[in-house]
Symmetry: C2
Subunit: 246 residues, 2 copies
């Protein structure tokens, strides 16, 4: 059998998954064009910016965009610090997030980078419910779901304009409609799992799997009794300003 | 551009990278055959066995082998607990490790599983130097290097029969001879990076990159002044017995 996987490939995409070792268990994703060396980071974390820049530099890449899936409440985004260190870098977030950034995206927009012959396209899908401004990014056979869809779970819906009803509709109508073999790359996993697939989440997600009704999902979310997030009072105001104190 | 990456593919390999969230930053790798559902785990961690079994079960896989790259000093292997929970599972380690296991491998051996038409083969390469019993496993375009070659680093060589000279020879003659695009999957990364390539390590590894001589490498390793490993007095005796107290 011929296997082709995540790699530095002359004919494809440079792709790296990076884990926040500083405490928030956030996954940051690096996507780069092997021809033009243009690259983007999805959900960079402030504490990991030096690591991210070393990885980017090692691969000979030039960062064009630092993109957030949503205004995070559990860590401070690295976009502000990346902008300070990389002149010309543009921060990107959804318009609906109400956060500060250089570029705002909405459902249906496409973020493109790389050479014409191998253009890399991130299709923006609005997936509100964890926050009202959450988006997911679809790139070929991968989807970066932020906190809308996690591996065997989902983000909480009890603050930041969260809505269990909206999250159910987002996951069912925007994510579960993707091909079964689509690779799911979330913003977090707290058990050290690195990826899932749409097929797996449809079958195995205990909250959002296809066996669950909207009413059952809302009931589950209403009964989570979660603690107030540790970082929210620091992270939210900072992330509304692109992670920069000013 | 058509990208094909880590996935649950009908024509290929089921592959998952799993991270130890309990403290040792160990990567465990799951490889499975989509036809027969036979699977193996490389470097499972005792504390993560429940997680690993849930991932294996979720994908409908049956574990055949639990394989170690070496007798670890920083965590207790999960092979013993896996054997208790999965009748018929065989533990595997190198003969040179002097550890207990059901099956012993040596340089040049091949561990095979899966259907005839898509047999998955792990080629064993002796890569001593971090320990005298370290092996790496080559599977198609991937190499699982244990602590012989880490991302921009390597395992220490100052105990467990370690030898900087041997490690240099192992990395240069057994790993750097693999195709440049080979994906490097180490047993650990402490900065949250998930993979590298042979090309990158040849160019960028500050200790073992091709610009370094053996003498320079030995000098670097002699001057690391590392602390005594926290877990070694507990982990080593346990791992010599397959991770089981008896
Ligand atoms: Fe969030
Ligand atoms: Fe080790």
């Amino acid at each position: 059998a011929a296997f082709v996987r995540d790699s530095l490939r002359s004919d494809g995409l440079i792709f790296r998954q990076l884990f926040d070792t500083s405490g928030s268990s956030t996954y940051t994703y690096l996507l780069g064009c092997p021809i033009t060396k243009e690259a983007v980071l999805i959900d960079p974390v402030k504490e990991m910016v030096e690591r991210d820049i070393a990885v980017v530099d090692g691969l000979g890449l030039k960062l064009k965009y630092a993109i957030n899936t949503h205004c995070h409440a559990d860590h401070i985004t690295g976009t502000g610090d990346l902008k300070k260190k990389i002149p010309g870098l543009k921060s990107v977030i959804s318009k609906a997030s109400l956060a500060r950034a250089d570029m705002f995206v909405e459902h249906g927009d496409v973020i493109s980078f790389g050479a014409d012959s191998s253009s890399i396209n991130l299709e923006v899908r609005a997936t509100p419910g964890h926050t009202d401004g959450c988006v997911s990014y679809v790139c070929d056979n991968m989807v970066f779901t932020g906190d809308a869809l996690l591996i065997r779970g989902c983000g909480r819906t009890d603050f930041q304009g969260g809505s269990s009803e909206k999250l159910f509709e987002s996951v069912r109508n925007q994510l579960f409609v993707l091909p079964d073999e689509t690779l799911v790359y979330p913003a977090h996993d707290y058990q050290g799992r690195t990826m899932s697939t749409i097929a797996e989440e449809k079958a195995l997600n205990p909250r959002l799997g296809v066996a669950k009704t909207k009413e059952e999902f809302v009931e589950i979310m209403n009964n989570l009794k979660l603690d107030y997030p540790k970082q929210i009072d620091k992270a939210l105001p900072a992330n509304l300003k692109c992670g920069i104190d000013d």
